[in-house]
Symmetry: C2
C-alpha cells in the first residue's frame, strides 16, 4: 500500500511542490514505510521514519511497550507479538511525545487524536470482523443546537435493507466515552459491523443505532470543579439528545415512536449519560445499558424511576473485574436494590477497554426489543 502511495507521490511531487506542506512531506518521506505490517504468525512490525529522534517506542492495547531500533536510513523498526486477533489502539512515543502512526490510515476518532488502529482479524471471524453478510450503513448528520449556538454531529446506523424497505424500526441510542467522539463507536467499536453480524445470525432484531457526540458543553465552561462539570455536561447532553438528536432521528428515519422500541446505552462517561437519561425517562426508554459506567455519586442519585409506576423492562449494567469503575457499578447496583429496582450487574473479565465494550454491545443488543432473555 505504501509503496504504491510513494510511487504516486513521487510522480506527482513536481505538481505539488508549490505547497509548503506537501513539499516538506515529500522531502522527508523518500521511499515506502510499511506500518503496521501483520505477519502470517500475527507478529506485527511497526516502522517510523524519524532520523532525528533519540528514542522511539510503540505502546499498545495488547498491554506492552516496545522500544524500536533505528536503521542507518533513520527508520525505526520493532516487532511485537504474536498478538491474538483483536482490534487494538496503539501509539508511537517519540522522545516522550505520543503520536499516531503516520504510516497507518486507520485512526481512532478522539478528542486528542494520538491513537492508530491495528486490525488483526480472526481466522474464525471475531464478533467485529467483516463477514460476507448483508451490511447496513452509517449516516453522518449535522444539526444546530440553538441553545449552545454550535453545530453538532451524530452518526446513525441503519440495518441492511433499510434504504429500500418501508418498515419502521426500533432505536438504540449509544453513547461514547470521555476521550472519544461520535465516530468512535463505529470506527473502533465497530458497532455497525457487530450489528450486521448479529443480524446475519438472527441473534438480534433489526434496529437503528444513534451515536451522538457526548461533549455538548466542552470548551464552553472552564473553572468549574470536576464532578460539577461532569454533571453539567451530563445534563446538557441529555437536553441535546432530547431536543436535538431525537427529533432529528424521528423526522429523518422510519422509527417506531414508542418507549417499547427505544433503548439507551453507553460506555464509561457515556454509561453515566445513558443511565441518567434512561433512568430519568422511563416514558421514553424501555431498555437501559451501562457499560463500565462512570456515574457521579452513584449511591446518592435520585432517578425519576424511583417514583414512577412505569419502569424500564431491562436495566443492564456490566463492568470488568480489573476496571476500577467496578466499585462505581456496585454502588449504583446497591442504590437500585435499596429502591427496589430490578436490574442486572454483570461482572466480567477485562478492564476499561474496547475489547470489553464490543463484547458488551454484542451481549446487550440481542436482549432488546423482544421478550426478555436471560434477565
Amino acid at each position: 500500500m505504501k509503496a504504491y502511495l510513494i510511487i504516486l507521490l513521487t510522480a506527482l511531487s513536481w505538481a505539488q511542490a508549490q505547497s509548503p506542506t506537501t513539499n516538506a512531506v515529500a522531502r522527508q518521506n523518500s521511499g515506502p514505510i510499511y506500518s503496521p505490517e501483520v505477519g502470517e504468525d500475527h507478529r506485527v512490525t511497526f516502522r517510523l521514519r524519524a532520523p532525528e529522534a533519540r528514542e522511539v517506542k510503540v505502546s499498545g492495547e495488547w498491554g506492552a511497550t516496545e522500544s524500536l531500533t533505528k536503521s542507518e536510513q533513520g527508520v525505526w523498526t520493532g516487532t511485537v507479538g504474536p498478538l491474538k486477533p483483536e482490534l487494538y489502539g496503539y501509539n508511537f512515543v517519540v522522545d516522550g511525545l505520543r503520536i499516531a502512526d503516520p504510516g497507518n490510515p486507520k485512526l481512532k476518532p478522539m478528542r486528542s487524536p494520538v491513537t492508530s488502529i491495528l486490525d488483526i482479524p480472526g481466522k474464525t471471524p471475531l464478533l467485529h470482523d467483516f463477514r460476507d453478510v448483508p451490511h447496513g450503513s452509517v449516516n453522518t448528520h449535522y444539526y444546530y443546537n440553538k441553545e449552545l449556538e454550535s453545530w453538532r454531529r451524530v452518526q446513525v446506523y441503519t440495518p441492511p435493507g433499510y434504504h429500500k424497505s418501508k418498515q419502521r424500526y426500533p432505536v438504540l441510542y449509544l453513547f461514547h466515552g470521555s476521550g472519544d467522539n461520535d465516530a468512535t463507536w463505529t470506527e473502533l467499536g465497530r458497532a455497525n459491523i457487530i450489528l450486521d453480524n448479529l443480524l446475519a445470525e438472527n441473534k438480534a432484531m433489526p434496529m437503528i443505532v444513534v451515536m451522538p457526540d457526548g461533549h455538548p458543553i466542552a470548551g464552553r465552561i472552564t473553572g468549574v470543579p470536576g464532578p460539577e462539570m461532569i454533571q453539567r455536561n451530563v445534563e446538557a447532553f441529555a437536553n441535546d439528545v432530547l431536543t436535538g438528536v431525537m427529533p432529528l432521528v424521528e423526522k429523518e428515519y422510519r422509527v417506531i415512536n414508542k418507549r417499547q422500541s427505544r433503548a439507551v446505552a453507553g460506555l464509561s462517561m457515556g454509561g453515566g449519560q445513558s443511565l441518567h437519561l434512561g433512568l430519568n425517562h422511563p416514558e421514553l426508554f424501555n431498555y437501559v445499558g451501562g457499560f463500565s459506567s462512570y456515574v457521579v455519586s452513584p449511591g446518592k442519585n435520585e432517578f425519576a424511576i424511583f417514583n414512577t409506576k412505569e419502569k424500564p423492562e431491562l436495566i443492564w449494567t456490566a463492568c470488568g473485574k480489573d476496571d476500577r469503575l467496578i466499585e462505581n457499578a456496585r454502588e449504583l447496583s446497591t442504590r437500585l436494590k435499596e429502591k427496589g429496582i430490578e436490574h442486572k450487574l454483570v461482572e466480567t473479565e477485562g478492564n476499561h477497554s474496547w475489547p470489553v465494550w464490543r463484547k458488551y454491545l454484542a451481549e446487550f443488543a440481542p436482549m432488546l426489543f423482544q421478550k426478555r432473555r436471560g434477565y
Copy 2:
C-alpha cells in the same frame, strides 16, 4: 474544550489507569492544551506539549512555516496570522517529524495521516461554511470487491429531505486525490456543506454525491514503474466503480438510472480517474469534470468518445495557474480539440490545493442536470 476534557480525564484517570496507553497519556498531559486557538482578529495560536523536543514548527496551507518557542512547562507556542477565513490543513514539525496536532480533534482523512484542520469561518459565510439551512447527510457503506478480495468503503451524500421523500435523484460520482481517502471530500472538501449551501440558494439541482476510495490496488502490487502503476490503478478503480460502487448506489438509493442523470468528476489523481471513466463511458455519464487533474500521457489518450456518436454534454476541466499540472490540462485540451471534442478548460488563480477544489465543485455542480449554463 480542552479544559473540560482534561478535567474529565483527570476525574476518570484513576479509572483508566490500568490501560498502559491511557495511563501514559495522562502522565504526560497534565493541564489543558488549547490548540489551535483562533482569536477575534484571526490570529491563530498553536500549542504542543513536548518537553523533550529540540525544535517545533507549525507549517500550514496559508503558505508559511513558523517556529514555536518552549515554555518552562515544556509547552511550545507560536502565533500566526491574521489569516483570512478559510479551511486550512496544517502540521507540526517536531525535530523534523511531521505530525498532526494532538490538541485538535479535526483531522484530514489521509493515507498517511499527519495533517490537522484549522477552520476559520467567514463573517460572511464562505461557500463551505455551515449555515442555518436544511442539511443533507453522508452515509458510509462497506462493500466487498471479490476480484480484489478486499473490503472497500464509499461515502454517499444525500440532499436535505432525501430520507422522507419518494423522489428519484441524479448522481455525481466524485473522486479524491492521491494522498486522500473516501472521507476527504467531505471532511476537508466539505462537499456536503457546499451542496447544502448551493441548494439553499437554488443554485444547483438536488443530487446524490458518491465518493468512493480511489486506491483499490494500493499495497497489492509493488515493483511496477510509476506511470504504469498509476494507469493500472486507474483501470482497477474504473472497474471497482462500475462493478462495485454503481450497483450498490443504484440498489440502495432512489437514483435516476440514465446517462443524462449521471456526472463524474475528481481532483488531481481523481481527475485522471474521472476523465478516464467519463470519456470512455459516454453511455453512462453525461457530465465530466477534471479538477487540477493528473492524466497519464494526456496528449496520447484514445478515449472511447473519439469514436462514439454520443458525447458528454459537458466536459469541464479547470486548473490553477500556479499548479504545475496546468501543462497536463493544456495537453489534454489540445488532444480533445484535435479530435473535435467540445470541452472547456478554465485556468484560474491558485495552486494544487483544497481552496481551489472547493471553488471548482461550487462552480461545477450548478452546471449539472439542467440546461447548459455558461458553457
